[in-house]
């Protein structure tokens, strides 16, 4: 399905959202675990991150109402599904806080959903 998506435009939206909200990275994975959009302010192995997350998602029931989260000493990883085919992952620094990361995940999901539907 992402063949008909304008990936450049999607990446622009994502990068704007990352900068606007002081996030570190946003990753969108397709149903097979491949990254379709990845924007990050620091270096992290995109393929490894996507593969690890996709394998993890194969174990867990991720859906719109059940975002998962990882809290590290200096940052957070939050993720949820984006429509029926995609997974949305946010990496946020500690300053953003967990609650706000979860709110931003929801906002980004709505924002991208509108864009993808249009």
């Amino acid at each position: 399905m992402h063949g008909i998506l304008n990936l450049e435009a999607l990446k622009d939206k994502v990068s704007y959202f990352v900068k606007e909200n002081c996030l570190d990275s946003v990753l969108i994975l397709d149903s097979e675990g491949f990254p379709i959009v990845f924007y990050s302010l620091f270096y992290v192995d995109e393929d490894k991150l996507s593969a690890d997350l996709a394998s993890l998602f194969s174990f867990i029931d991720i859906n719109c109402n059940n975002p998962l989260f990882f809290k590290f000493n200096r940052g957070y990883v939050v993720a949820s599904s984006l429509g029926s085919e995609y997974k949305l992952v946010i990496l946020a620094p500690e300053s953003v806080k967990l609650n706000r990361s979860l709110v931003l995940l929801r906002d980004l999901k709505l924002y991208l959903q509108r864009f993808m539907d249009s």
Partner: protein, 204 residues
């Protein structure tokens, strides 16, 4: 098999393949002593004074039967103690697991321990095979950027798993009762973290 005379009773206690001999005798008018022998040596002694108004011979029989029960339960508790304490009296991994499980049951309702790692060594794993190595890979990838993992939460088969990383422990709990609101799941983390850091003090 037991022999009785006026002031003593002899009998046997069989525990598994071991046979102990037991002799209960009256010492004077008010004291009853029961000795348990194994291969001719006394391994345990119990004593009691005869209650006022009770006949010594009657109490002797009662005490003899009671000692049989007490000896077996003492043996069982000693065996459990050996499993939970090492030779220096420190909690073993099994003992720690048992104590942590009991504490969780008492302090946080609706939780089940699913995984426990002490100082990097898995002690208990009730999770889906393959999940822990996968998580370790993912966590080590992000360690470089974000430091150590403190907590993780995600749904599996309609229930929630919470991973907590302390200084010495990595533990995972399953939320038994259904909590669909993320805020509720977050609220359970603080008491769990307190419990884990309290328990870590007991580790060498």
């Amino acid at each position: 098999m037991r022999s009785v005379n006026g002031f003593s009773i002899n009998g046997k206690i069989c525990v598994g393949k071991y046979t102990f001999e037991i002799q209960t005798e009256a010492k004077g008018d008010s004291l009853v002593v029961s000795s348990v022998f194994f291969k001719g040596r006394v391994v345990k002694q119990y004593s009691s004074s005869v209650p006022l108004g009770e006949k010594r011979e009657v109490f002797l029989r009662k005490f003899h039967e009671e000692v049989k029960r007490r000896f077996i339960s003492d043996l069982i508790s000693q065996k459990e103690k050996r499993q939970v304490l090492d030779s220096n009296g420190n909690l073993t991994a099994t003992g720690f697991l048992k104590k942590l499980t009991e504490k969780i049951e008492k302090s946080v309702t609706g939780l089940r321990l699913m995984y426990l790692e002490i100082n990097g060594n898995p002690v208990f794993n009730g999770l889906v095979p393959g999940l822990v190595p996968l998580l370790s890979d993912f966590i080590s990838l992000l360690n470089k950027v974000y430091g150590d993992l403190e907590v993780a939460a995600f749904p599996i088969k309609g229930r929630w798993l919470i991973f907590l990383k302390g200084e010495k422990l990595l533990s995972c709990f399953l939320i038994e009762n259904h909590r669909d609101l993320p805020a509720l799941r977050v609220s359970i983390i603080k008491p769990l973290k307190e419990l884990i850091s309290e328990m870590e003090k007991e580790l060498p």
